[in-house]
């Protein structure tokens, strides 16, 4: 089953299947029924992040570096969690400006700078080549393991001619394959839908294959996780395998690696391709933000069991191949083949996307600008250049893969899989300062970006790439150990004497540090060109504007000239689509020029597109000031509008408050009039009797003694009533002005209640009111003014007597403890007080209002000031007074609550 033929058939069959899926995806896309318009497919396509490095290398890294392999996936998890802040912005900008690669993106941000684009493309090419080599190595290695097992793999690369080297043929086959489905179109704005569909499929294949090995290991080779971990725990060699101490660089190395993975995830060309360029709908980011991390979790879940099993069962064999050798060692046939296909899919997925991304960069940022500058080309080829462009792409793809092969063939053996991957990560991370800072800081400029990138790249070469060469024997090892020319402070792994760091944190610190310092420093002290200012504004403000202008052209050209330009580079079909039909001799409106530029940018990169448009548009090419002022004015207007809105809302609110206050004042005024009228009425009533009888007594000298005494008694009684009334009015005035003087002391409320009862007893008996008493708390110590409180109690009793039932009036006084308060309640068996009336009985003049509303119930005698005064007094003593339904007698119950007095001490 493991014959060469079967393996080859499986591999090619798999590639053919991929091709079919891609072709199907492309056809569906051209029919307008996209298969990738789903957030799940988008998330799966992002999983191109998991390469052969994940598939084989995670286990290898787990055996030597413990849990740190997880960092490579925790970093991207953080990056995806930050998608609403970072990726969404990138996606929106790329869509608005038709940016097709990270080189294009960075170049566009810094004023569509051709130099910067070329620099990014070059760094990407150099930095990523080892990574592609790694995939080739993985395919070749897994193939070799599969064929020669159980014999050890025999590596004699250097001695073999290249045509005998399988990697060479793998590279070639892949190149053809990628050319076949990566360069079928030119206009990159038509995304590679077929490719994305194929990549999503590949992500499923590698996940399934890896999980299959993991489950096989756990449940076939061992009797479940408990068994495996028990055996591993028993082995002294494995006990410390997953300690933090196993991680290179310890806690510092840990953080460094987390940062590296976070940055690389955003800056690796293939990740940029699938995350940003191939994104068809910004909203897909939301699902992908958690689905992709979930994928990562799933594919890493069983890494440790496999690593442990490999270390237990296959001591001494290559940990990078455990995934394959574990099922092989059990004598299986089918599973190893599935694993091989899984690894193949992980590797091809990466190579396909990476190569397409790199070839786009190479052709758009390096070759095309150079060709466009060579005027020779303009003269010689007035015809269609479309073929040229496609040719360049195809050659680029071939070149990239051959470069990968060369790297692999010449020095690929020195490093394990993960090590090569990390070196590439560190190279890609150099784009992060220019990319991320450029998204948020308008001031970042081209000079800073270029110098920063150059410095970062140089340090990367020195601290990571050259030591790699040294380990492959290209350079003397002393270069690493003693420093060049024996200069100790120049040792690549301990630059300037920074020792004790792991090499990645070390390299990251120096390269990113210098990169960032140069970017910030130079940006602060060198000027920005006007185009840069425009682009910086467009990039940093991307999320605040819905329709982002891609550029405003002020110059003049005709539709015909634009059409010639477009058909020359993109073909007549595209030209018709972009420009539609119209009179070719007419001047083209600025919108049309902008559209042409975007179409060109999609295929050639923004820098080249600008050069081309400049070549046909006469006069003032770009009115940068206008764009800037439009942007600024818009944001200023928005701000002004927002403030106006705020102010008017505030005004409306204040107006309402004023109206309410005015209403309240009017109400108070009305109440004051009522009060005065009522006071006058209440004062006049006793006064009337007094005056009448006084006059009667004065005029009638011959009155019988009995009458005389009766009338004098009335005069005295009414005078008393008058003075009581005046007293009440004064109390109320004092209460309201806060000048009521109370002399609080500790007193027994029960005693006071009994006093009050005694005081009203006679009067109530006259009225026929039966008084009931239930004093449960005795004594009930509170703090209060005894005279005032007695006044309140008498008032409550008096009140209750008036409101009690006419036929059989009953009043009940109860005193009980409630938490740390005492409650004195006076109930009656009258009609009670309606819910909405209950607060109003505490308003002074309440009676007057009742009367005015024409109620038929006999008006109780009294000034109507008793309850408001009582409430005021109780409140002054820290208590409360309210009305509720009487629980025993069914009428109203007035409840007075006072806090318990503190213990005497």
């Amino acid at each position: 089953m493991r014959s060469e033929a079967v393996i080859l058939a499986a591999a090619f069959g798999y590639l053919a299947l991929l091709f079919l899926i891609a072709a199907w995806g492309d056809r569906r896309a051209s029919q307008g029924r996209s298969v990738i318009g789903s957030p799940t497919v988008y998330a799966l396509s992002i999983a191109v992040y998991c390469t052969a490095w994940t598939f084989y290398g995670s286990v290898g890294r787990a055996t030597t570096q413990g849990a740190s392999f997880l960092l490579i996936y925790l970093g991207p998890t953080l990056a995806m969690l930050s998608a609403p802040f970072i990726l969404r912005k990138m996606v929106r900008i790329a869509a608005a400006q038709r940016l097709t690669s990270i080189a294009d993106f960075i170049s566009a941000r810094y004023g569509k700078s051709g130099a910067l684009g070329a620099l990014v493309a070059l760094i990407a090419l150099i930095g990523i080549t080892p990574y592609i080599a790694l995939q080739l190595k993985a395919i070749t290695l897994s193939h070799a393991v599969l064929v020669s097992y159980p014999a050890a793999v025999d590596w004699r690369l250097a001695e073999e001619p290249f045509w005998a080297d399988k990697s060479f043929w793998v590279a070639l086959v892949l190149a053809v394959f990628i050319i076949l489905f990566g360069t079928r179109h030119l206009d990159a704005s038509e995304r590679h839908e077929g490719m994305v569909a194929a990549i999503a499929f590949e992500s499923l294949v590698k996940l399934v294959a890896f999980l299959a090995v993991g489950l096989f290991t756990l449940f076939v080779l061992f009797r479940g996780p408990a068994d495996l971990f028990a055996q591993a725990g028993a082995s002294p060699a494995l006990r410390g395998a997953f300690d933090l101490a196993a991680v290179e660089g310890g806690a510092l190395g840990w953080s460094g690696l987390l940062l590296l993975a976070f940055l690389a995830f955003l800056t690796l060309p293939r990740q940029f391709q699938v995350l940003v360029v191939e994104n068809v709908d910004e909203r897909h980011l939301r699902r992908a933000s958690w689905l992709f991390p979930l994928y990562l979790l799933a594919i890493n879940l069983l890494v440790i069991p496999i690593a442990l099993a490999g270390m237990l069962l296959l001591e001494g064999s290559d940990p990078d191949s455990f995934v394959l050798t574990l099922p092989l060692s059990a004598g299986l046939e089918g599973l190893p083949l599935l694993v091989f296909i899984g690894g193949l899919s992980a590797a091809t997925g990466m190579v396909i996307v990476e190569t397409i991304a790199l070839s786009t960069m190479l052709s758009n940022q390096l070759v095309m600008p150079w060709l466009l500058r060579a005027s020779r080309l303009h003269a010689a080829h007035r015809g269609e250049l479309r073929g040229w462009l496609l040719g360049i792409r195809r050659v680029a793809i071939l070149l990239i893969l051959l470069l990968g092969y060369l790297y692999h063939a010449l020095l690929g053996d020195a490093y394990s899989l993960v090590t090569i991957g990390l070196v590439s990560f560190a190279a890609a991370a150099q784009f992060a300062p220019a990319l991320l800072l450029g998204l948020y800081w308008r001031g970042a400029n081209r000079t800073g970006a270029i110098v920063g990138l150059l410095l970062g790249f140089a340090v990367w070469v020195y601290t990571l790439l050259l030591p790699g060469f040294a380990q492959s024997g290209w350079l003397p090892l002393s270069f690493v150990e003693a420093g060049p020319w024996g200069l100790d402070w120049l040792r690549p792994y301990a630059l300037f004497g920074l020792e004790g760091w792991d090499r990645y944190s070390h390299a990251l610190f120096w390269s990113l540090g210098l990169n960032l310092a140069a970017l910030v420093g130079l940006s602060l002290f060198t000027p920005q060109s006007r185009l840069e200012q425009t682009q910086a504004a467009l990039f940093t403000e991307a999320l605040h504007r819905d329709a982002m202008p891609a550029g405003v052209w002020q110059g003049e050209t005709s539709r015909g000239e634009l059409r010639r330009l477009l058909s020359r580079y993109l073909g007549a079909k595209v030209a018709t689509r972009v420009l539609e039909s119209g009179d070719d001799t007419q001047p083209a409106p600025p919108v049309l020029i902008a559209r042409t530029e975007r179409a060109l940018a999609g295929a050639l990169g923004s820098a080249s597109a600008r050069v081309l448009i400049n070549s046909v548009v006469r006069g003032e090419a770009l009115d940068l000031e206008a764009v800037l002022s439009i942007l600024d004015t818009t944001s200023q207007t928005l701000e002004v509008n927002r403030r106006l809105e705020q102010k008017s809302q505030e005004l409306a609110r204040i107006g309402q408050e004023l109206r309410a206050a005015n209403e309240r004042l009017r109400e108070l005024d009305r109440l004051k009039d009522e009060f005065v009228a009522m006071v006058s009425h209440e004062l006049r009533t006793p006064l009337t009797s007094i005056r009448a009888f006084a006059e009667i007594l004065r005029d009638g000298q011959d009155l019988p003694e009995a009458k005389r005494e009766q009338f004098l008694e009335v005069v005295v009684h009414e005078s008393q009533r008058l003075s009581r009334l005046i007293e009440e009015i004064l109390d109320l005035a004092r209460l309201e002005s806060g000048r009521l003087t109370l002399t609080p002391r500790r007193l027994d409320l029960a005693m006071l209640a009994r006093h009050g009862l005694a005081a009203v007893e006679r009067l109530q008996a006259e009225r026929g009111v039966s008084l009931e008493v239930a004093i449960e708390a005795d004594p009930a110590w509170v703090v209060g003014d005894p005279d005032r409180l007695e006044q309140v109690i008498i008032n409550l009793l008096d009140n209750a007597g008036k409101f009690a039932d006419d036929e059989h009036p009953r009043v009940r006084l109860s005193l009980c403890r409630h938490k740390d308060h005492y409650r004195l309640a006076v109930e009656d068996n009258g009609p009670g007080i309606a819910e909405d009336e209950r607060e109003r009985v505490f308003e002074k003049f309440h009676q007057i209002q009742r009367q005015q509303h024409g109620e038929r119930r006999p008006r109780p005698k009294g000034s109507g000031l008793g309850l408001p005064i009582s409430r005021g007094i109780v409140a002054h003593l820290g208590g409360r007074l309210w009305v509720e339904s009487a629980p025993t007698l069914g009428g109203a119950s007035l409840v007075m609550e006072l806090p318990e007095a503190p213990n005497e001490s």
């Binding site: 006049r684 009337t688 009667i696 009414e718 009367q851």
Partner: protein
């Protein structure tokens, strides 16, 4: 002997008015709310009414209004008594057909004279 009906809810005021009217030589009946005042008018047939405005059930104005609608009460001399000193109430009372209007506290002498004058007029 002319009959006077005294309507007020303050017992002491009723007491003083009753005494004053008796002293002046009239027969006196009393009522302490609006409904009983209307009933007294029907049963006792007074020649003059001293009517307080603030009564517990009906206001004095209502009593006045209803009396004026009955054949017996249409021409009956009625003096309104009030503890409210407001001009509007006086106008309202006169507009509703009160013959005179006295503010509390009142001069006993003036009150008696007014009653006598009105009774003479009516006769």
């Amino acid at each position: 002997m002319p009959k006077v009906l005294v309507v007020d809810d303050e017992p002491n005021i009723v007491l003083s008015l009753e005494f004053l009217m008796q002293q002046a030589g009239f027969e006196v009946t009393t009522a302490e709310d609006g409904e009983s005042a209307l009933a007294r008018v029907a049963e006792a047939g007074p020649d003059l009414i001293l009517l307080d405005i603030s009564l517990p059930d009906l206001s004095g104005f209502e009593v006045l209004e209803r009396l004026r609608q009955t054949p017996r009460g249409a021409t009956l001399p009625i003096i309104m008594l009030t503890a409210h000193g407001r001009e509007v109430e006086r106008e309202k009372g006169l507009a509703l057909g009160a013959d005179d209007y006295i503010t509390k506290p009142f001069s006993t002498q003036a009150l008696v004279e007014k009653v006598k004058a009105l009774l003479d007029e009516a006769r």
